[in-house]
Structures are given as structure tokens and as C-alpha cells.
Symmetry: C2
Subunit: 494 residues, 2 copies
């Protein structure tokens, strides 16, 4: 029987008990810090302006500085590390570095683990080697692995020296798995017991630990070779009589994860089966780690954020990310959209003769293109979501396509009547109104087809169905919208 627990956090909390706050309180703290920072900056400016004429200026500045710093510390250092991370993420870089310098060193490790990647970089940048070693030396192997890409190599080397052989093996294992795999989010802290002992023995064993690993809702029953035989929930441990053997009350009906499973799949399983923790086993059935709900919640949130941003053509970026990062992040998407828009515009320009003859077509064609895109986007959103939860199989694709075409046709008929009315009002021509109606229904069906097929083909090819699909959709509904509308106009109105 053996267990690995991390006493880092408990030890730290004993030194400086962190208040756990309501998120609203964290926002309040953010406002206070911002107000203090502003006063800080104002006074600094004032003092600087007087500097030349007054010898006491540096002294005054120093005093005020220290007073402000104390005030800021009294606001920040009573917060939960997660709330300190929140405040650091909500400030522009120079103010962030200032606050980070005032954060109690005892919080450094937890805050570094909590902040977003792009903030962590700037925090690590401003720490010296000794501070970095101090912050990371007590971390668990999986936590060091999460930070490794941002840490200077000599710090990692220093920290590694302090690890046991087992911990070093864990670190190497954790660093070997892709970031978005189960291996990338698992930890190594877990309690393992043998199946032939009584619950009494388990209870006595647990009393020898300083605490249970975070989010322990079950302990793992293994044989001598660490092969997982079953799980013993704390609930079973607590409600059964102490004389009962582990093997009698352990459950053999549980989910196991493989370290190479994707983290999104693991998240899906946690969601569906309401899990708090799940064992990770290797191909031989030996337990090598554990995934807990706190990591899973982060995965769910990050995936949803990522998807939201990727729909607008962005990667991770926050309101105070560096400017160069923002440019690199946004420009490619806009240039891509510019190219597709230019292509669509070029296609439309092939009908210059028609548009010269009937100028009003120029004002109607963007409606046809736009509504096709909007309608296709509705279809695509549904399909991407259904793909994400695994609801689409080869057996219901056709039913789906038929359904989407039917819905689009019905909505399209209603919408195109309104559009035709507008076309008639603006042009006074029934012929133009009729062409408008036909083109709009046609382009909405284009949107629906692209909205169904492109995500499905991308998913089949193993690619993320969301990102590329929306560019292709706009490209198709713009280009074909212009083509259908101006084509029909050329055929029937010229």
C-alpha cells in the first residue's frame, strides 16, 4: 500500500491562510487595485514634474510609493491564488508586473499554475532564477510539466535535482504526452490499496497520510504489479463496516482512460457519467495516474473559449495581450477573408454589363449573398455541435441533409417573399423581384449544403470542423450568391 500526496499547498496555507472569496469580491479587489494604481501613477507624475526645483521630491516619492505598495499588498495578499491570477490577467503588462512584484512569495507557485499561458510568460520573465526555483521546487511532477515550456532550462535542471527517482520518472512521463491528451492533464497523486485487506486497515492507513490528494472520491485497488482491479469509493469505505474486505465492496464497474486519449473525450466521459476522478491505465492495465474534475472543467472551458475565438479567426488572445501578439493573431484571418471577398467581387465584376444596365442589381446582390451566409451559418452551427457530441453517424447523414434542406427551403420561401417585396419597392419591377426571390432561395440552399457537407468532410478527414468551415461558407455564399443572382438577371432581364 502506498500513496503520493502533495503537501505543498497545505504547508503553504498553514503559513498564510488564503481567504476564499466570492468572484464578485475578486472584481471588487480588481477595482481597488486599479484605483490604487491610478493614484500611484498620478502622484508619480506630479512628483516628477516638481523634481527639478525641489530636493525633497525623491524622498516624497519614495514614501508615497511604499504607502501605496502596502495598500496594494493588503488588498491582494488576502486573496485566493485563483483571484490573484484573475487580477494579474486583467491588467496591462506594466501594471501587471508591478502587482506581481508585490504578491507574497508564498503564493508564487499557485498563481503561476493558475494564470493563463500568455500571462505566465510575462510573470516568469520578471522573476530571477532563485525566485523561480523557490516557486517550483515544491510542485508536483505534473505541475512542473505544465510549466516546463516557459521555464529556463537551468531552473528545470535545478528543480529536477530535488526530485525523488519516482517523481523524476513522473515528470519525464508527463512531459512526454501531448498537451491535449489525457496524459497531459493527469496527476500522479492517488491512494492505492490491496484487495485482500479490510476497510479497517484502509482507514488506519489513511490516518497516516497528511491529507488525501485533492478531489479524491475513490481509492484504487491494485495488485502487486499495480494492475487496477477495482475502485473503492470513499462512500463505500465510510458506510460499510470496518471488518469487511476491500474486495467485497470495491466496484469493478468503472471507466478507465488511456494516457493517449484526447482530453476532450475524457471531458465528455466526465460530463456524461458525472465523474469526479477517473483512473488512467496503460495498455497492460496498470494504473499510472488519475484525472480529476478540476482539470476537466478547465478543458471544457478552454475548448469552448477556443472554439468561440476560432470562429472569429483568432487564437488565444486576451484584452491585454501584447500588441504584436494581437496583430499576428488577427491579421491572417482578415487577409484570408479579404481574398475570398475579392474573389467574390471579381466574379460579380464579370457581370459589369448587366449591372451597368440595371444599377439597382448592385444594391440587391449583397442581400442575396448575406442571407445565404446567415442561413448557412445556422445549419453549420447545428452540424458542428452534433459532430462534437458524436451524434452524426454514416447512417443518419442523409436524413440530416434532407431535413436541413427542407427547413432551409421553408424558411427561404418566407424570407424570399419579404426580399422580393423589397426588391419590387426599390426597383418597381416584378421581373427583378422574381429573380431576387429565386436567387435568394437558391443561395440559401447553397448555404445549407456547404453548412452540412464541409464540417462533415473536415471531421471525416480528422480536422477541426469549426474554423476553416466558416471561411469556406462565406466564400461559397458570396461567390455563388453573386453568380446566381447576376446570372439569372443576365438570362431573364437582359
Amino acid at each position: 500500500m502506498h500513496a503520493t500526496t502533495h503537501n505543498t499547498k497545505s504547508a503553504k496555507l498553514a503559513i498564510t491562510p488564503a481567504r476564499r472569496l466570492d468572484p464578485e469580491d475578486a472584481q471588487l479587489a480588481l477595482s481597488k487595485v486599479q484605483a490604487l494604481l491610478r493614484r500611484h501613477a498620478l502622484i508619480e507624475n506630479l512628483v516628477h514634474r516638481q523634481e527639478v526645483g525641489d530636493d525633497r521630491a525623491p524622498l516624497v516619492e519614495g514614501l508615497l510609493h511604499r504607502q501605496h505598495e502596502t495598500e496594494i499588498q493588503s488588498v491582494v495578499n488576502v486573496l485566493h491564488p485563483a483571484d490573484i491570477a484573475f487580477i494579474l490577467e486583467s491588467l496591462p503588462k506594466d501594471e501587471r508586473q508591478l502587482i506581481w512584484g508585490l504578491v507574497d512569495e508564498a503564493f508564487n507557485a499557485d498563481v503561476l499554475l493558475e494564470v493563463a499561458d500568455w500571462v505566465r510568460e510575462s510573470l516568469i520573465e520578471s522573476m530571477n532564477r532563485a525566485e523561480l526555483v523557490a516557486a517550483t521546487v515544491n510542485m508536483d511532477a505534473d505541475e512542473i510539466a505544465d510549466l516546463a515550456s516557459d521555464l529556463p532550462p537551468d531552473v528545470i535542471a535545478e528543480v529536477q535535482k530535488g526530485l525523488t527517482v519516482e517523481e523524476r520518472a513522473h515528470l519525464i512521463a508527463a512531459m512526454g504526452y501531448p498537451e491535449d491528451s489525457v496524459g497531459g492533464i493527469m496527476d500522479f497523486e492517488m491512494v492505492r490499496v490491496r484487495e485482500d485487506v479490510s476497510l479497517e486497515v484502509v482507514l488506519r492507513y489513511l490516518r497516516r497520510l497528511p491529507e488525501l490528494p485533492d478531489h479524491t472520491d475513490q481509492i484504487f485497488v491494485v495488485d502487486r504489479g499495480d494492475k487496477l482491479l477495482g475502485v473503492l469509493s470513499l462512500s463505500s469505505l465510510l458506510v460499510n463496516e470496518p471488518e469487511i474486505k476491500v474486495s467485497e465492496v470495491m466496484s469493478t464497474d468503472y471507466l478507465t482512460l488511456n494516457p493517449l486519449d484526447s482530453d476532450a473525450e475524457a471531458a465528455g466521459a466526465f460530463e456524461r457519467y458525472d465523474l469526479v476522478s477517473s483512473p488512467v491505465v496503460d495498455d497492460q492495465g496498470r494504473i499510472i495516474g488519475r484525472v480529476t474534475i478540476s482539470e476537466v472543467v478547465d478543458v471544457i472551458r478552454e475548448d469552448s473559449d477556443e472554439q468561440e475565438l476560432s470562429r472569429a479567426g483568432m487564437q488565444e488572445e486576451d484584452i491585454f495581450a501584447p500588441l504584436t501578439m494581437a496583430l499576428k493573431n488577427r491579421a491572417p484571418w482578415l487577409l484570408l477573408n479579404l481574398c475570398t471577398a475579392a474573389t467574390a467581387s471579381f466574379i460579380a465584376s464579370r457581370f459589369e454589363g448587366t449591372v451597368s444596365a440595371i444599377v439597382v442589381l448592385a444594391f440587391l446582390m449583397s442581400i442575396v449573398a448575406g442571407i445565404g451566409g446567415n442561413s448557412g451559418n445556422q445549419t453549420m452551427t447545428l452540424i458542428i455541435r452534433a459532430l462534437a457530441v458524436g451524434r452524426i453517424t454514416s447512417k443518419n447523414i442523409w436524413q440530416l441533409i434532407k431535413r436541413e434542406m427542407l427547413v432551409t427551403l421553408l424558411v427561404g420561401l418566407i424570407g424570399s417573399l419579404v426580399a422580393a417585396l423589397f426588391a419590387w419597392a426599390i426597383s418597381g419591377s416584378v421581373a427583378i423581384a422574381t429573380v431576387m426571390m429565386a436567387a435568394m432561395v437558391g443561395n440559401m440552399l447553397v448555404g445549407a449544403s456547404v453548412g452540412v457537407l464541409v464540417p462533415m468532410v473536415r471531421a471525416r478527414l480528422g480536422k477541426d470542423p469549426a474554423m476553416g468551415s466558416s471561411v469556406l461558407l462565406t466564400f461559397a455564399t458570396d461567390s455563388l450568391g453573386f453568380l446566381i443572382f447576376l446570372g439569372l438577371a443576365t438570362l431573364f432581364l437582359m
Copy 2:
């Protein structure tokens, strides 16, 4: 000392042990069910075609029916209720009802609680009163409350008869809270203990329970009036010596929720502080319920789904939701977009003279409008996300606006150079290219302003910043894009 536990699920699992599957297995089961349904339908058609000429047809049909039903049951009834729910959600209505009729009645309650709202309606529709009473009679008060809006009143009345006075009070309380409040997602199952007893007494007390409530990671320490004094984590209970008093090891540093807090706020707190459960207390500090991570994960997922759908102008809809629901869901959004597009087009048509004279403007103006929209959408996505996590305060609004304007200006300068090049290529006119460039940068700044201000104003007014904002954005970038481009063209090119 008293506890409320639900023995519904445990009792049921004892009768028909449900296999917990990997989600991939659930997809496999879905494929199998779909294949069986298809064979079912094919044979039914064949038999129907022969019916007139052959007396044995009904007999053959009956036999085959039963054979298929047995096969389907053998696939479905070994699944976890969450997976059965998944299969029901993935089928069109008629097939769904067929499968639902074959699901083991022992699963009815759990499946009803698991499925999405729009599926639940159709399932309840096909059940008779006795079945409904049987399915709901053993549910917990908070579970009945979740289903109440879909159940016939006489079923609720019948089920209420079977409740204890306390349970009935819980049911009434749960039904009184809004769906998206903490009260709407809390349950009433929790273990409460007094502070002056020893851990030994707590352990003995727990052994008298059939099991602990799901997701119990802490038990609540209360006084005689149910006022919450502290929380005792199972970890503390297990690692400390039995002689120690509860008051010595309980934690007084915990988060409490109010039943009227929004469920999204509660989810934020669970995420930030890595919670598994949290007590819900009333204004007098008395504990009235508990929120667990499994409800919170559902809230996070539903909110993210909702936001994704609302961006495309939809409410909850799934790939096999009824057709009328789909129409009601999608048509209003498209009509709204049609109106804004028509308005923009009307504004453009005021420049008919200019466009008649320089037809190429007709093909360029949609580029100006489109890129302004894309760029504004990037800004808006960032702002909405920052608002959602509470990162924007009155003190950083101006910094933010300045930053977004600067980023947009820089990206706009790069993009407009490319656009100007295209305009020059298609028109051969440097003047048109210059107008194109100026209009594009101008319209991108329009997009950035709308992208920052509209969500912030909506949030300030207490409205969802996401949904309405995107219509307003497109409206602004389309209308003003046309206005700026054609206006500049009229001024400088005519």
C-alpha cells in the same frame, strides 16, 4: 445529526446493473441501433407490400418485429442511462419513440432526467399515467422539480402524495426558484453533523447510511437551528484520529451560495476554486441545500452551447428537433438580418448616380462592408469574453478602447493596402484605390467601436451582451461601410 440520502438510484442499480461505457461504445451502440431500425423499416415495407396477397404476412411481420425488438433491447438495455439518453437524442422522433418503448422501465427515471428538454417532452408524451407515476415516484424533490413543467398535473399530484412533509417542502422550494438560479440546480441530499462530537461518532453515524449522497466531498457542520458553522472534508475526516472533535478539524474558510445567485456565477466560483460541492445558505445563514459539480458541469456546457447557438440566432435546437420548432427558431433571425441588409442596401441605393457612373464601385463596396464586419467581430468576441469573466471595470474601459482602436488601425493599414491593390487591378484607377483604402480603414474603425461599445452598453443595462450585438454590428458595418465608401467616392471621384 440527520441526513437525507436518495436510495432511488442505488436500489435501481441493484436490480439492473448498468454498464458504464466509454462514449465511443455509446456511438457504436447508436450505429447498431440505427442499422437494426433500418432493417426493421425495410422488412416492414416488404411485408406491407405483400400484405394483400398473403394471409401469413401479419404473422411473419409479428415474428420479425419481436426478433428485432429483442435485438434492440439487448443493445440498449445494457447501457448507462446517460448513453441511452444520448441514443434517444440522436434519432428522429418516430424512431426515438420506438426505442423508448423498448427501454427497460427500470431506466425510465434516470433517462428522463438525463435527456435534453425537447426530447423529454416527446418521451413523456408517449408514456401513460401509470408509467409516469412509476418513473417519478422514487425521484428526489429536486429531480421532480426539474421535470415538473413537462409532467401532467395529475401525475404531479399523485407523486406528491407519496412524499414526506420535508420532501414536499423541498419540492415546493425547488419549484419556486428560477431555472437559472442556484436554487434551480441545488439538491437537498446532504450529511449534517454537530460540531461538538468526535470524528468517531461521525464515522459510526455514516455507517448507518445506505450510501453517501452523490458527490459528497464534505459534510456540513450545523447548530441546532441548522445554521452552518463549518465544513468537514472527507479528507479531514479520514486522515485525523477518531478522538478529535469535529470543531477542531472543520474548516471555516469556505464558499457559500445564495439560492438566488445565478447558476453561471456559481459555475464561475466552482471553476475558480476547484470545488466539488458547495453549501447553499439562506439569508439567516441556515443551510438549505447543496450544489454539486455535476450540475455545474451541465451549466457550463449548456451556457457555452447556448452562446454558440445564439450567435447564429438560434435557441436550443438539435438536429432532430421537430420541423415547426426549427422554423420558429430560425426564421425570426433571418428576417431580422434581411431587414438590416435591406436598410444597408437602401442606403447604398441613394448613391445610384455615383454607381451608375463608376460601375466598379458596385463590386468593391461589399468588400468594404464585409471586412469591417469581420474585424469588428474579432473585437466583439474578445470584449464579450472579457465581460463574461468580469475582467472589464469602469477603470479600464478607456485603456481597452484605445488598445482596440490601435490594433484595428494597424491591421487595417495592412489589409487596406491589399484591398487597394485589388481595387487598382480591377479598375485601373489610383483614385478609386485610394478611396477604397480610406473607406476600409474607416469602416474597420466603425467595426471596432461598435464591437467595444455595444456589448459594454448591453452588459451595463443588464442584458446578454452576445446576441443582439452581432446584428447591430453587421448593421453598422454594412450601412456605414456603404455610406463611407460611396460617400467618399461621390466627393472625390465625381
